[in-house]
Symmetry: C2
Subunit: 287 residues, 2 copies
């Protein structure tokens, strides 16, 4: 396991972490000022400043990317399917323009939440099938663009409205089905927040392999969690033994960025510099 | 699959569903008045009126039980372990006195939440091991009392503070380890609220078998869920295709009570009779 205590060379900031404090360009500059070497942008934050401006900001600051957030929302009724595919192709193109190493995918839950306006459904098994079908359709386009697709299993509390892929086992089963030859064109993003609870996760991390380990995200689980979406904890403030998961991930050969992604009303209410300084301090001590 | 539309012969009310509206005796009487044939009492509600009074109320009303809630909270530091074992033995004895068919177990999360005062820990793997160890220790006592132990996998959002057994697969692995001969002394309680999201659940229900299917609970998942503990939905108000799960459970040979367990600030604020009448109507139409 890498020693993170001496510097923050492998820290990446997911831009959602400070989305309320600055626009994308401001976030990039604040990160660069602190010697943070990478970011993972969200699409809406990039769109807000314009893709070209975002590309220039990243290049001018000398930053790398650890991912691009996010494609997905694959579940829809048939009327919304063409838009869904187009939308994901655009996400792939943007990720390529920005030089991202992967496109992170939040796969969608039931159609009415994934693509609003879709016919309501309670058929979670149909949603599972739609995710695999959409990935199969998009994979050649992503391969052409040289953009690996990172399926991110989300915590099961998001199954209805955000993602019906909820365990690492399930994500890897999809990878096995679509890319049995392990070309590296589809893999997983592992976030401690989403997988920490799973007694099966240790066996599944061992199953991932370096070629499918496209991103590693960290934050903490607070007790109590006051909001299901916007109350993620700063590393060290919750109950996740983050180094235990990092140890297993790095034992698979992962030596890339450790991306901090906090969606938190609490941390969004604090000054940008304070949040980044706290992230750096916690990265060195409790990640 | 059974036709539930003509009567409510197989409906059971978990007494937590109306815990704010009446005491245990009042709940039993209100159920009996409506021809509800079974209840599943909570320990604190029984303790409030006294065990003997509770036993008499159930007998006088001619009710059956579909379970007794709850034993468990197995995770603790070593100082709290003797109390934990004693507490669970008492729960087994109470369940036997009440004539319950099983003791439902919420196994506990991290020790500091399961048995307050315990040394804080972030070691979820140690918690998993403690659950299995405690079950192994209690099983002979339960067998002696003729009281089957029903491990209830809880939704993963409760892993830290309520139960670190979060999938049916995990619960069945524990049953396999402790009772390879399938004596029926340990099994599972399946609640749609806790397992509906799991893409693996269909395969796992098929694995349960009649002998380990000790209880079947229903309620619905609301979008959005406003409170992680107290915002369960009345059947039909959420996104769970409840009959799809019941079909698979009954395909295993299950023909027992269907227990409605709602923990909901919303439904707790309504009159007792209205809640029970709504439960009966929904049981007949959307369960």
């Amino acid at each position: 396991m890498r020693d993170l205590s001496n510097d923050h060379d492998w820290l990446s900031i997911n831009t959602a972490t400070v989305r309320q404090q600055a626009d994308f360009v401001g976030i990039v500059e604040a990160c660069a000022q602190r010697g943070i070497r990478a970011v993972s942008p969200w699409r809406d934050q990039v769109a807000h400043v314009g893709l070209e401006r975002a590309v220039r900001a990243v290049r001018d600051a000398g930053l790398k990317l650890s991912g691009y957030c996010r494609g997905g929302m694959f579940t829809s009724d048939s009327a919304h399917r063409p838009d869904m595919i187009d939308d994901n192709r655009r996400a792939i193109d943007e990720a390529a323009a920005l030089g991202a190493p992967c496109l992170v995918l939040v796969v969608g839950g039931l159609p009415q939440y994934s693509r609003p306006g879709s016919q309501p459904s309670k058929d979670i098994r149909a949603a599972h099938a739609q995710v695999t079908d959409a990935l199969a359709e998009l994979l050649p386009y992503a391969q052409n663009a040289g953009m690996p697709l990172a399926v991110e299993p989300l915590h099961p509390m998001y199954a209805a409205d955000r993602a019906c892929v909820n365990t690492l086992r399930q994500a890897l089963d999809i990878c096995d089905a679509l890319d049995p030859g392990r070309t590296g064109s589809i893999g997983v993003a592992i976030d401690t927040y989403h997988v920490w609870w799973d007694s099966d996760v240790w066996k599944q991390i061992a199953r991932v392999g370096r070629d499918r380990l496209l991103a590693f995200h960290v934050c903490d689980w607070l007790v109590p969690t006051k909001d299901m979406l916007l109350d993620r904890g700063m590393m060290g403030d919750g109950v996740i033994d983050i180094p235990a998961y990092r140890r297993e991930v790095e034992a698979q050969g992962y030596n890339g960025f450790i991306e901090v992604e906090l969606l938190s009303n609490d941390w969004w209410s604090r000054p940008l510099g304070d949040v980044l300084d706290t992230v750096i301090a916690r990265y060195k001590t409790v990640v």
